[in-house]
Amino acid sequence: MADFVVEARTDFSNDVSKQPVLEVRDLVVQFERADGVVHAVNGVDFAVRPGEWLGIIGESGSGKSVTLMSILGLLGEGGRVIRGNAWFNGVDLVQLSDRQLRTVRGKDIGVVFQNLAEGFNPYLPIGTQIAEVLVNHRLCTRRTAHRRVIEFMHELGIADAKARFHQYPHELSGGMRQRAMIASAIVSEPKVIFADEPTTALDSTVQMQVLALLTDICRKRGTAVVMVTHDLGVAAHTCDRIVVMYGGIVMEEAPIDEFLQFPTHPYTLGLRDASFDPEQPDRPLRPIPGVAPVLLEAPRGCPFAPRCHMATTVCRERLPALRQTRPDHRVACHHVQGENEHEPYPIP
């Protein structure tokens, strides 16, 4: 279904020399809500290299969107970054003031939003909102912005771009709106794009079209993409590296081939068993028991422990750290052997 994607994939696992464009270290985010403090993100580490596609997968509520939004300082009311760094171009985005961050948003980091119906202001024409990036960053004047946006919409396969420019969001179909959203993220040619479930709300044909478009354009410009998705299949076909999140921490991180061949973390294994595998169509799907918790307390042990079949006392006592298990493959679990460890983790 997606030959173009597989061909286009570049192999970055050998190219260690490349410095990451974006490096997130030990990010902790909390929300202050009327019924308590929600510990949405509890120490996330990942890095994105130039031109790389990083996929973040995980259950609903595992803090994927919050991680991305906190990097840009776009948390809603009550959200705080407690500690952590997000290095981008040698500056720590977490430490920047809102005014300084504004020069980064849109220009250096573009965002494709998850919520289709609410992503665009219903009170303004689509084209105005796409051109806004260019105008806000003074990349060009209003008139040239108008021309460039229309050209760009053509490139994205939006038919009749001149008329579409003046239409309101509710007059466009979902696929069109998502293309426009992609246009608004890419038109300023940023270095990194955060795509928060760019295709979840679309039907599968449109989903493939939009995805192909996104890959095409980003590969052409060498843009790095951080893509949040629920769909392991989509991730497998588009991403270079996968980060699995649960309960606000990174559970496993590996290049895609490695990830597909040797998944090791119990949560990843659970996810694999719960999703459909076209190579073994007869295998029964086994969902993970239980539901993802709302984190009203800081996790002391492994967040997955209440649902994990391998859980022991140590899991409930101590937060597992990300450890190297194979070259370029990191796992946070007490019961997965590390690279140089030949005996199981000692139980105190």
């Binding site: 909390q30 202050e32 809500r33 009327a34 019924d35 403090v37 300082g73 776009l74 948390l75 809603g76 009311e77 009550g78 959200g79 705080r80 970054v81 407690i82 500690r83 952590g84 977490v94 430490q95 809102d98 239980g290 539901v291 918790p293 709302v294 984190l295 009203l296 307390e297 800081a298 996790p299 002391r300 042990g301 492994c302 967040p303 422990a305 209440p306 409930r316």
Partner: protein, 321 residues
């Protein structure tokens, strides 16, 4: 241990009604102001109920007229030497009666019209909504004034007349809510199960919109009180700046409001005390309404006021946005 506790919390939150109620109460208290308002209104109700039994009708004594506040007369005395505090305490009941009857009548009419329009739909909906539009564009207070003139001046009649003309907002809101319930799946299942319209309206629609209606009721009490002050200010006895007179036999706080206006020149307590009691009452009602409204959408963070009692987190980065 902690995560077991969390999943336990999850279960309790989704299953325990008691827990939910306690959470709601906590959320209500968190903001500070609604609780103050609630306590104040409760105090006023107690005073209004107990007051007439422990005070006597203020006596007229010309030699004690217009005394400034003192220990004997904490709020001073009025034109004819009546104790102002006693007058306010005895007038409070009628004022609260106006607010509550007016709001109750308008919410009742609005609920019936709105739910009927929402549940039945079709031609009934169209007719009732045109009727509501008409009710929106009539000069309500003139009709209310007329009803008061015809039926006679009393707290009941003022409340009744205002309630009879101000139901349009409630009807429109109830219809919107009823429609949103109707478009949900619960309602479909009720219709498929063969429930009658009456059954659906009372068992499905009413409970689901009741909370919104309670909030509306609180705001409506404040609104009815305001309208009744306007109504009573149209009294011909009220002559600005030259000293209004209390109609004999009517003991409303609202009358004191307008009657005291003329006494502003020399006897300011006659102006400020009734006005202060009235305004604090209405503001307390608005605070309660705000607090209840915050309960309705728990996902939204409460509006943070500088005087609210929020625990503040020390953070690496201040709140953005």
């Amino acid at each position: 241990m902690s995560f077991a506790a969390i999943s336990d919390w999850h279960q309790r939150a989704s299953h325990g009604r008691k827990r939910r109620r306690r959470l709601a109460w906590r959320r209500f208290c968190r903001n500070g102001l609604p609780v103050i308002g609630l306590a104040y209104i409760a105090l006023l109700f107690i005073v209004a109920i107990v007051g007439p039994f422990v005070t006597r009708q203020p006596t007229v004594n010309i030699f004690q007229a217009n005394l400034s506040p003192s220990w004997a007369h904490p709020f001073g005395t009025g034109q004819y030497g009546q104790d102002l505090l006693t007058q306010i305490v005895r007038g409070l009941g009628g004022t609260l009666l106006i607010g509550v009857t007016g709001a109750a009548i308008s919410v009742a009419i609005g609920l019936i019209v709105g739910i009927a329009a929402g549940v039945f739909g079709g031609i009934i909906d169209a007719v009732l909504m045109r009727f509501t539009d008409f009710a929106f564009s009539i000069p309500t207070l003139i009709i209310a004034l007329f009803i008061v003139v015809v039926t006679g001046f009393s707290a009941w009649n003022v409340g009744l007349s205002i309630g009879l003309v101000t139901w349009a907002g409630c009807a429109r809101m109830a219809r919107g809510l009823a429609l949103s319930v109707r478009n949900g799946t619960l309602m479909d299942s009720a219709i498929l199960a063969g429930g009658s319209r009456w059954y659906i309206a009372t068992r499905y629609v009413l409970p689901q919109i009741a909370s919104n209606m309670i909030v509306f009721f609180v705001f409506q009490v404040a609104s009815v009180l305001f309208q009744s002050t306007t109504l009573i200010a149209l009294d011909p006895q009220y002559v600005p700046l030259t000293g209004g007179q209390l109609p004999p036999g009517s003991n409303l706080l609202l009358n004191l409001l307008n009657g005291g206006g003329g006494s502003y020149i020399g006897y300011r307590w006659l102006f400020w005390f009734p006005l202060g009691v009235y305004c604090s009452m209405v503001i307390a009602l608005l605070w309660i309404g705000d607090g209840l409204q915050a309960l309705l959408n728990p996902q939204q963070p409460l509006p943070r006021r500088w005087f609210a009692t929020w625990p503040r987190l020390r953070t690496a980065r201040g709140a953005r946005g």
